[in-house]
């Protein structure tokens, strides 16, 4: 595979990582399969787009998207999900209802046209990477992916909060029994995971564009990432993203007829041998 295609795979993987890491944090700690995550991505993208167009600032767009989606996450968690805690099926379907609602609301607010988030001047155009012409913005996405990975790694492994989250993933009741207010950790994780979806929406909205049903597409990829990587594992979601991103590129180049199957075929095989994913642990 040429360097060019490798970069394509890596940059796509970086976006998937940002989106899917939020998904897996929530899934790992709260045991919620948040099917509204894709809708949060799309909504974040739209809000980021509007803010970026109004203010002319990509950074403000990012902050706006993350803040707004965290706020929606707050309403979702405190206003709705609290009524169905502990029942996985009800949680899943409730988030799906929320996804329907958010998607239709986005259609009302922004119409159904495709939008592309404007890229700041300094990230436009291309550059040469080892002699290969490549768009700067996509390299920026790759950088952001790495940045988020490092940030999350530090958060999870070198802070008290991170230790609580990790302990909560393994056994939430135990953490609670030790006198920690695990609810607050849960809430923080939910808001943080949602904000990552919003950030992903802005990043993806600038090169994959925003339109109705973009949410379902990114959700499908995120699910694949999390299933491959395993619940609540940062390394797992990193490796899952790389696999899905590279397989997606490889599949489109080498087996165009099977482009979709190339991602989900290996996933099915993996499931047969490791139903909990590469890094998932039974609880």
């Amino acid at each position: 595979m040429s360097l060019f295609q490798l970069l394509n795979g890596l940059t796509f993987a970086a976006l998937l990582f940002v989106v899917a890491s939020g998904f897996t944090l929530i899934f790992g700690l709260l045991r919620i399969v948040n099917l509204a995550h894709g809708a949060l991505y799309l909504f974040g993208g739209y809000i980021g787009y509007s803010v970026a167009v109004k203010t002319g600032s990509f950074v403000l767009g990012g902050i706006g998207a993350m803040a707004a989606i965290a706020a929606i996450g707050f309403v979702l968690d405190q206003g709705l999900l609290r009524f169905v805690r502990g029942n996985e099926l009800r949680q899943v379907l409730l988030t799906l209802g929320v996804a329907f609602f958010l998607n239709d609301l986005a259609l009302v607010i922004w119409g159904g046209d495709s939008f592309t988030v404007p890229i700041p001047e300094m990230l436009r155009g291309g550059t040469r990477v080892f002699g290969t012409f490549y768009p700067i913005y996509r390299l920026f996405v790759l950088g952001m992916g790495i940045f988020v990975f490092i940030g999350l790694w530090v958060l999870l492994n070198h802070t008290r909060l991170g230790a609580l989250i990790r302990a909560g993933v393994d056994d939430a009741e135990m953490v609670e029994a030790s006198g920690v207010n695990i609810r607050r950790v849960f809430l923080f994780t939910f808001l943080f995971g949602s904000a990552l979806a919003g950030l992903g929406g802005l990043m993806g909205g600038a090169f994959l564009s925003l339109y109705p049903s973009a949410d379902a597409e990114i959700l499908t990829f995120s699910l694949a990432v999390v299933i491959i990587g395993g619940r609540g594992s940062l390394v797992g979601v990193g490796i899952g993203s790389l696999l899905v991103g590279l397989l997606n590129t490889l599949g489109q180049v080498m087996f165009p007829e099977l482009a979709y199957f190339v991602i989900f075929g290996p996933m099915a095989v993996l499931l047969a041998f490791r139903p909990l994913g590469l890094f998932g642990r039974a609880t």
Partner: protein, 320 residues
């Protein structure tokens, strides 16, 4: 819920009152085409078909404690095979129907193999992912499935061309299938499934092969989903990837929940509620998707036991 289970009669466990109610429901259902417009007969036909799908999900969810988010795909595989067999391969509708159910059963058994080792949220996630693989294949295997455009064929047998004739056929099918499922969940095998639902570890320590039971349960449920899918092929004479999409699975699960998990026949009530709601709302507002989303949320929060479950709760309170 404490009817005596005797093994002497095929109607074992059905009280006289229940029998009378079932008879009345069937008679009323059979008379519907005489009073409804042809479009409404079509809607009721759809209710029956999706009721069977929802019931097949209920076998697992209500009696084995495993909710599948992949049954829409199993249902749709049957639809695809029936349309393909009659349209492309030129088989008779009945042969196509049989093949469709067979294919759905095969797919269900593969799903079951992969999924029975998991439970809870992993089971949801796995069945959802497996359903997506099926969807991806239907979408991408253009040469066979027609891709995005799907396939059309005159699947419906000539004798069932009229709305009411087809409705009666589906009604007859639904009655047979419902009865079969009812027998299934009340059989010793079904009781074992319930045991697994209530306490997996206890069943295991009692020496039951839990994965094998779940495997069989899943596969049997796939047969029924396949029957529903085959009927749907005859209903629409058409199939496209949206028939196997996640939305289909979710709709089935929602119908089951709206009716009441573990009530089996509540599936028809749930199917009717959802289909009628979609129809009424979409004729009044463009924003039906939003209304549907809100309904989802409200059902999950306020009526998780479903319509039939709620009714039962109310009546039992009165009895007391």
């Amino acid at each position: 819920m404490t009817q005596p289970v005797s093994k002497t009669s095929v109607l074992a466990g059905m009280t006289g009152r229940a029998l009378v109610i079932a008879g009345l429901v069937v008679i009323v259902a059979a008379c519907l085409p005489m009073v409804l417009s042809s479009y409404q007969v079509g809607l009721v036909t759809e209710v029956l078909i999706f009721g069977v799908l929802a019931m097949s999900i209920d076998i697992l969810a209500g009696f084995a404690g495993r909710t599948s988010l992949g049954h829409g795909a199993i249902f749709g595989v049957s639809t695809y095979v029936v349309v393909y067999a009659t349209g492309q391969a030129g088989l008779s509708p009945w042969a196509g129907f049989a093949l469709g159910v067979l294919a759905a059963t095969a797919v269900a058994s593969v799903f079951a193999l992969l999924a029975v080792r998991t439970s809870g949220v992993y089971f949801l996630l796995l069945t959802l992912a497996l359903g997506m693989i099926v969807w991806g294949v239907c979408l991408r295997w253009t040469q066979v499935t027609g891709g995005e455009n799907g396939m059309r064929a005159d699947v419906r047998p000539a004798a069932l061309m009229s709305h009411s004739a087809f409705y009666w056929a589906v009604l007859a099918g639904a009655i047979v299938v419902s009865f079969a499922m009812w027998r299934f969940v009340r059989s010793p095998f079904g009781l074992t499934l319930r045991g697994i639902r209530d306490s997996e570890s206890r069943m295991r320590s009692l020496g039951y092969n839990v994965p094998l039971h779940l495997f069989i349960g899943f596969t049997v449920s796939g047969i029924f989903a396949g029957i529903a899918g085959g009927l749907y092929a005859m209903f629409n004479n058409f199939v496209s990837p949206s028939t196997v999409a996640l939305a289909q699975s979710v709709e089935g699960v929602l119908m089951m929940i709206a009716g009441g998990v573990g009530t089996l026949f509540g599936a028809f009530v749930g199917a009717a509620a959802i289909i009628v709601l979609e129809n009424i709302v979409s004729s009044y507002t463009e924003r039906w998707l939003m209304v549907l989303g809100i309904t989802f949320v409200l059902i999950m929060i306020f009526a998780p036991e479903g319509i039939i479950g709620k009714l039962r709760a109310i009546t039992s309170r009165k009895v007391r």
